[in-house]
């Protein structure tokens, strides 16, 4: 249904469960993908699985210089940059009363500031081609809040406000900027939860189950497609009904 043949997509956090699924979905629709992440081994593995049209672009998102250089590297490797998916994220959870300034700063740096830097780097080439898709992966907690995640929730909510502002500025150039906000998704992160924690969470999800990385990837695929050209500044919540926003 969605055809991304000839488009080049950069996906950060592609070594993780959701990022890997996003890269796989975009690649499956015909896009050339740039796989970015801090850990090279899983990126290489994913690239080998995808075969052609996959490039490994390691990057440490807490290194400003490396982040600023990434769009250029991606363009060199892929020959263009039409789609940016800011998926990488970290958590440093703690009760707010105990949250250190360092944990606050680190989470904002990697989740919010690196997203800003990458958006800045890709808008220029996208303006030139008069086509672009930026999809920022936020989180349900950016809207609902979550105990222990003041830093993460602030960063994710910040991404939403930033995305809307950029969306205003570049809409006339054929560039859309949207967010996908996952709820609880089956990943390495949620695997660590014990049965009690899991059943507690499931009780809050009308769908009665956690989401899959592929279900997040499908939302990203739609927002990356030509068909979604009139959708901008939006947040698509993919959470099994956990929060109906």
């Amino acid at each position: 249904m969605f055809d991304l043949t000839g488009k080049c997509a950069l996906v950060t956090g592609a070594s993780g469960g959701i990022g890997g699924a996003i890269a796989t979905a975009l690649h499956g629709a015909g896009a050339t993908v740039g796989l970015s992440g801090t850990r090279t081994a899983p990126l290489e593995e994913l690239a080998a699985r995808l075969g052609e049209r996959a490039h490994v672009l390691p990057c440490n998102l807490s290194d400003a210089e490396a982040v600023n250089a990434l769009p250029k590297q991606a363009i060199e490797a892929m020959g263009g940059l039409d789609i940016l998916v800011n998926n990488a994220g970290i958590t440093r959870d703690n009760l707010f009363m105990r949250m250190s300034e360092e944990d606050w700063a680190q989470v904002l740096e990697v989740n919010l500031t690196s997203t800003m830097r990458l958006c800045k780097g890709v808008v220029r080439p996208m303006m030139k081609t008069r086509w672009g898709r930026i999809v920022n992966i936020t989180s349900i907690v950016g809207s609902t809040g979550n105990p222990g995640q003041a830093n993460y929730a602030a960063a994710k909510a910040g991404m939403v406000g930033m995305s809307k502002s950029i969306a205003y500025e570049v809409a006339s150039r054929g560039i859309t900027v949207n967010c996908v906000a996952p709820g609880f998704i089956e990943t390495a992160m949620t695997d660590k939860l014990n049965e009690d924690q899991k059943s507690g969470i499931l009780g809050q999800i009308p769908a009665g189950r956690m989401g899959t990385p592929e279900e997040i990837a499908s939302a990203v695929l739609y927002l990356s497609s030509p068909e979604a050209g009139y959708v901008t500044g939006a947040t698509l919540h993919v959470n099994g009904g956990m929060a109906m926003l």
Binding site: M127, E169, V170, S172
Partner: protein
């Protein structure tokens, strides 16, 4: 190679879709030639490419008219 002013005029005409004779020394991109703020950013990008120079953001802000652009580029070259 054509003169700097001619090359700048060509970019402005192409980008903003205005008549060539409107692009005069004191013509303001925004007030006279109908550019929006994003157009001015794009014009600066186009100048950078055409002339192989780098125009820092604070300098870009001072380029308001066609004459400003030509002067800046001549100095930068």
């Amino acid at each position: 190679m054509s003169d700097v002013a001619d090359r700048v005029r060509k970019i402005v005409v192409e980008h903003l879709g205005v008549e060539e004779d409107k692009v005069v020394e004191n013509a303001s991109f925004i007030d006279d030639l109908g550019a929006d703020s994003l157009d001015t950013v794009e014009l600066v990008m186009a100048f950078e490419e055409e002339f192989g120079i780098e125009i820092p953001d604070d300098a870009a802000e001072t380029i308001q008219t066609f004459g400003d652009a030509v002067r800046f580029i001549k100095e930068a070259q």
